[in-house]
């Protein structure tokens, strides 16, 4: 390869990496009746998922909490928690289904319920810190939001059938 071509390829690669690491992050808050909703548009590399085992006792050893972490453009972490505890297998299935959506498209839109409140001391979120790999580990700054649904350009995932309302632009099952 000619030297100039190598430089162009290197520049393009650097540019691509740069775009990936910056990524997209937009959040918009809506209020319907007395309820707050957050519509978040974010690139896949700013999302992490986790199943947290809640070490309960006396027949409650099944309880796992699904958690999603989103890194804002100010390097603040939003924690989004599933509304209920599930068994480990169901929690892992949720992670796999969402991971598949994230791999298919580099950007997603998601609906989270509740208002954005800065958390105080240790209360209000399940985790203190979330690790985004090359984007670093950052503190969870807000109280947990509640997971409603997540969409890429092709499909949506999430069961919001129990709710009366969902985010504008999202389908209520």
């Amino acid at each position: 390869m000619h030297l100039n071509n190598k430089v162009i390829v290197a520049l393009l690669y650097t540019f691509k990496l740069g775009c990936q690491s910056a990524g997209v992050y937009k959040i918009q808050t809506y209020r319907i009746k007395d309820l707050d909703f957050q519509v978040i548009q974010v690139s896949s590399n700013r999302i992490q998922q986790k199943c947290l085992f809640l070490n309960a006792e006396e027949g409650n050893e099944w309880r796992h909490q699904y958690l999603m972490f989103i890194l804002s453009n100010k390097n603040e972490v939003l924690e989004i928690a599933a509304p209920h505890n599930t068994d480990e297998e169901s929690c892992r299935e949720k992670i796999a289904a969402i991971e598949k959506m994230l791999q298919f498209k580099s950007e997603i839109r998601m609906c989270a319920r509740d208002g954005l409140k800065q958390k105080n001391a240790r209360e209000g979120s399940w985790e203190e810190v979330a690790d985004f790999g090359s984007l670093g580990a950052h503190k969870v700054k807000y109280e947990s939001l509640t997971f409603d649904s997540i969409c890429n350009s092709r499909k949506c995932y999430g069961d919001n059938s129990a709710y009366t309302y969902t985010c504008p632009g999202f389908v209520k099952q």
Binding site: L54, N60, H84, S90, E123, A162, Y163
Partner: protein
Amino acid sequence: MPRKKSNNIKASGKTTDVREHPLTVPVSKKNPTGKTIRDRHVRRLPGTDLDGDQIIDLFKKYNRKGLKYPTTKKLLEEYKNSDDYDEIIAVWIDYFSKKFIKLALDPNSVKALIASESSFIEDPKENKIAFGITQITKQTLKILQDPKGEVKDFIFKDIRQKDLKNPAIAIPLAIRWLYRKQETARSKLKREPNHEETILEYKGWLKGNSALRASGLKNYRKHYNALK
């Protein structure tokens, strides 16, 4: 002269000792006369157990006078079905508080528990271990039906796992279990538990670390406060 008891049969305050007696059975090769002898056995006294049909029947006929209902309309903006189970909650709290001669559970506490366990979804699909609107496990269902187990004072019978999809069955079972959890929480704390401590015991977190307790209660507390 004191009555002699057989080796394996013991009657308690909730059971009676039935002597060997003749029994009419369907005519078969084994029993061509339609008569057999039933061995000596223990029978539960009336009012110490309920099966599915009895649960439904008792709910229909229950005297509604003086019942305490959960607060209505406060969760409707969030959950469309949230007021649908108020009557079931009110009836069964009243039934068990009278049965156990105990201070009634707070109906809003039961409603907030259901919100936090299932969002009022009658048959949540996202769980393979706990079932129904109150998320009762197979293990808990077994305990609730064990005549020799920890809730032997009052048990359920012939309730199958699939019956837990019906809130008319799942809610009374959960309320009976909550009364039991109130007792176990009292024993662990060595004092009367408050409503949050009873819920923590139901979810298995009463003895968990403080961070788990605080995060785990967040969803319940949010709904309970909304109902106040």
